[in-house]
């Protein structure tokens, strides 16, 4: 298996180099036969990467501890599920997983472009994809192979970090990688468009699904990371502004900006330079994020430490960044457009200012992440920049963004007339003012929390106004009842309404984030059996302690009776787990979720006489973070579900919808 894995990796690398050589020959000699051969070579790269990945999975499954990577991330007692997913638990395996994902995506692009071989851009798209792949395969083959052997065979492996033995951690890295790697495709199309001068919006239309799906996967990866932190780390939060978290969040912000302005280019053929800048920047930031995680330049709770790969990534980053800048500068005169915006009061303008805020957020997060390094260079002091800084700086920016999210649908394309604005604003503003009065009357006084709730109400009101006007129009035209017209409206105009649903998800998340951060209640105490700790309207009574063994862990489980306002609600079990081979026990979170609030309990310590230290928190509205993020992701997916080819003759309404579906 080791030989199969190493050889497959090597062959994948050689075939990638071969494909690049064939593409270059095809371009230079203007001979399609070379390009057709390069397509076969790229398919072979994918096949060899699948073989290498299968070999690594088999090595984990068979406890082949002579392989250094397997010995470092698995042991005999590890459940098979985690053994298989330990594939991407460490730096080497995750690089192979990255290459595999890129291989599969490249194969999909090669297949999708089978009818586009005559286009001048197609070979360049292949060349960029193969170029990026060659970098990762070079690292795997010559710097950091997961198939490296130890010079002895250990009796057992070191095991997987207990904190990674969580279902959320199984899906978090692959979805994040899918997001990162997916952005290689629009980047490749953008580069090909600039090299060949085919700068119309066709590259955007062809990559739209890739853009949105990569954005969706990056979002899922970030959310799963947050969900894992919430249920596994035991500190009661889901986002710590850690450098590695920021490394995924920054490209997501820039990609969000790109998705918005891509719509403008598709509709108005403006902002062509800007879109090139954004997609190059998004790709550069995905590589930069990977560099941060693997270089060890910043301290983070979950980076890979100093892996020795930092220099390679920095070099690759420089090539991509300066190459991108050069191509944009070279294509600038062709990319410039003479189309105009007709008014400040237009949807295009709000998109532009929404871009400014998104980039300001990305910039502030990047600055905060790198500031310890910057400070060390200029002052000699490596200061710390963590949660409080990011919350202070980014919260007002996020609130601006939410405001623009609400304003955008109220503005028409091109130019909003005063009458139109008045008509569009009346209901959302009325709802918002009413909501603000109710919130104030309910005792909410914190400036940011009150503002966040008010702005969320405003955005929800504007979105529902969109749903209402759309449904009313459909009822009028088709005669369908509203309950049928509404889902048909969403389905038939899914690109447009998918966007609104994604926005709805974002504001639901804002409500959850605001509630859980501004109104959190906490309590901690040490209890003997029968004693009670109170937090908010809850009381927890320590009843009993049980000890048992499950899989690769010894579990101490405290049984707690839960009361709310004196009324019994049942029991919760708070656990401390001692994993085989682990130095420290882990604390398992005990959670009671509801739409209103989460009761979040951890047991940091167990005393000699089985007295327990208990930490309890009430996190209001927290479940809305997960509901909102799910809605956001579903909105994104809905927006890219392809349309079936339309029949030649269709009803008037369907045609009108098709034209309006943006």
């Amino acid at each position: 298996m080791v030989t199969l894995g190493s050889l497959s990796q090597l062959l994948a690398f050689l075939f990638t180099l071969g494909a690049m050589a064939l593409i270059l020959l095809g371009i230079v000699k203007n001979d399609m036969r070379f390009i057709i051969s390069s397509r076969r070579a790229l398919y072979n790269v994918t096949i060899f990467l699948v073989m290498a990945s299968t070999a690594l999975v088999m090595l984990f499954a068979s406890d082949s501890f002579q392989v250094e990577y397997v010995a470092s991330y698995s042991d005999r007692a590890l459940p098979i599920f985690y053994k298989l997913t330990a594939f991407w638990a460490g730096q080497k395996g995750s690089l192979l997983f990255w290459a595999l994902t890129l291989g599969l995506i490249t194969a999909a692009v090669v297949r999708n472009t089978r009818d586009d071989l005559e286009r001048r851009a197609t070979p360049y798209i292949y060349l960029v994809l193969a170029g990026v792949q060659s970098f990762f395969l070079f690292l795997l083959v010559s710097v950091t192979s997961p198939f490296e052997l130890l010079n002895f065979i250990p009796a057992d492996g070191q095991g997987l970090n207990p904190m990674l033995q969580n279902p959320g951690m199984i899906f978090h890295p692959p979805t994040l990688f899918l997001g990162y790697v997916g952005f290689t495709v629009p980047f490749a199309y953008a580069v090909a468009a600039m090299v060949t001068g085919e700068l119309d919006e066709s590259w955007l239309k062809k990559t739209r699904t890739w853009n949105v799906l990569s954005w969706v996967f990056l979002a899922i990866g970030i959310i799963l990371g947050g969900q894992w932190a919430y249920v596994e780390l035991g500190w009661g939060g889901y986002w710590a502004w850690d450098p590695v978290e920021n490394a995924s969040f920054i490209p997501w912000l820039v990609a969000t900006a790109f998705i918005h302005t891509a719509i403008i280019q598709e509709r108005r053929n403006i902002m062509r330079v800007w879109n090139m800048v954004l997609i190059v920047l998004t790709f550069v930031l995905t590589i930069f994020g990977t560099y941060l995680v693997r270089s060890g330049v910043l301290q983070s709770v979950h980076d890979f430490g100093a892996t020795g790969l930092g220099g390679y990534f920095l070099l690759f980053l420089a090539i991509v960044l300066f190459g991108g800048i050069y191509l944009i500068a070279e294509s600038y005169s062709e990319l410039r457009t003479y189309h105009s915006l007709e008014s400040y009061l237009s949807r295009e303008s709000t998109f532009l200012f929404n871009n400014v805020i998104l980039l300001a957020l990305a910039f502030s997060t990047l600055l905060g992440t790198l500031f310890p390094l910057i400070s060390e260079v200029f002052t000699g002091n490596k200061i710390t920049v963590s949660q409080p800084f990011f919350n202070r700086v980014n919260t007002p920016l996020f609130l601006f963004l939410i405001l623009l999210t609400g304003l955008c649908p109220l503005m028409g394309w091109r130019k909003a007339s005063p009458d139109n604005l008045k008509k569009n604003f009346v209901i959302p503003l009325g709802v918002t003012v009413t909501g603000a009065i109710v919130l104030f009357a309910a005792g909410i006084r914190g400036f940011y929390s009150l503002l966040a709730f008010i702005l969320s109400i405003f955005v929800i009101a504007t979105i529902f106004r969109e749903f209402w006007t759309g449904t009313r129009a459909r009822v009028r035209i088709t005669g369908d009842p509203a309950f049928k017209a509404f889902p048909m409206l969403l389905w038939n105009m899914r690109r447009r309404y998918g966007g609104f649903i994604a926005h709805l998800g974002v504001v639901i998340m804002v409500i959850g984030i605001t509630g859980s951060s501004a109104f959190k209640l906490e309590s901690q105490g040490t209890l003997n059996r029968g004693q009670v700790i109170k937090v908010g309207s809850y009381a927890l009574r320590y009843d009993d302690m049980n000890r048992y063994k499950l899989y690769n862990r010894d579990i101490y489980s405290a049984t707690l009776s839960v009361f709310k306002n004196g009324r019994p609600l049942g029991t919760m079990n708070s656990e401390k787990r001692y994993y085989t081979g682990a130095d420290e026990p882990t604390t398992e979170v005990s959670l009671r979720m509801s739409l209103l609030e989460d009761l979040y309990v951890t047991m940091p310590a167990i005393g000699k006489n089985q007295e327990i230290t208990l930490r309890a928190a009430v996190n209001p509205l927290l479940v809305w973070v997960w509901i909102g993020s799910t809605v956001m992701v579903l909105g994104g997916v809905m927006a890219v579900i392809p349309r079936r080819r339309k029949r030649e003759v269709e009803g008037d309404y369907e045609r009108v919808e098709g034209d309006y579906d943006e």
Partner: protein, 149 residues
């Protein structure tokens, strides 16, 4: 419904709590985690020492200053707002103003680009005039027929 949900959330009262101070300090064990997120032995000691200080009547600022005196500024979870650190706080806003300024300039330029409207038909400029291969072929064959005819 959302408003009703929000209404049910209790309003927060104000008093110094351990967690409020924990959110401002880093754990000193080297884990790079903010104190309120860390669960190691060092963080437990820091927490109990903070609780003791609150019980003695020390203010939030006094407790934080005590920790800075003991561990240096690296114990702070956010940089102080003075000296070189101001760049971190002002930078994003300068970036925002700069970006907004550029956006305003572009929007103004675009909204007042009448010279192009005079010279070109805007709808014509909005359209994609590249001919597809099929259409080009059709035109060519029709031209051939005209010439032959």
């Amino acid at each position: 419904m959302m408003i009703m949900v929000i209404m049910l959330v209790p309003a927060a009262g104000y008093s110094i709590t351990t967690s409020e101070i924990e959110a401002e300090l880093m754990c000193t064990c080297g884990c790079t985690m903010v104190l309120n997120t860390c669960k190691c032995g060092t963080s437990d000691q820091m927490r109990s020492s903070i609780s003791g200080m609150i019980a003695k009547g020390m203010t939030k600022d006094e407790i934080i200053e005590w920790h800075v005196a003991k561990h240096s500024e690296t114990v702070l979870a956010a940089p102080t707002r003075r000296g070189f650190n101001l760049i971190a706080y002002i930078g994003p806003w300068v970036g925002l103003l700069f970006g907004a300024g550029i956006a305003v300039v572009f929007v103004r330029r675009w909204t007042s680009s009448d010279e192009f409207e005079d010279e070109f038909d805007e709808d014509y400029l909005n359209e994609d005039h590249a001919l597809s291969d099929d259409i080009q072929r059709k035109i060519d064959s029709e031209l051939e027929q005209i010439e032959e005819g």
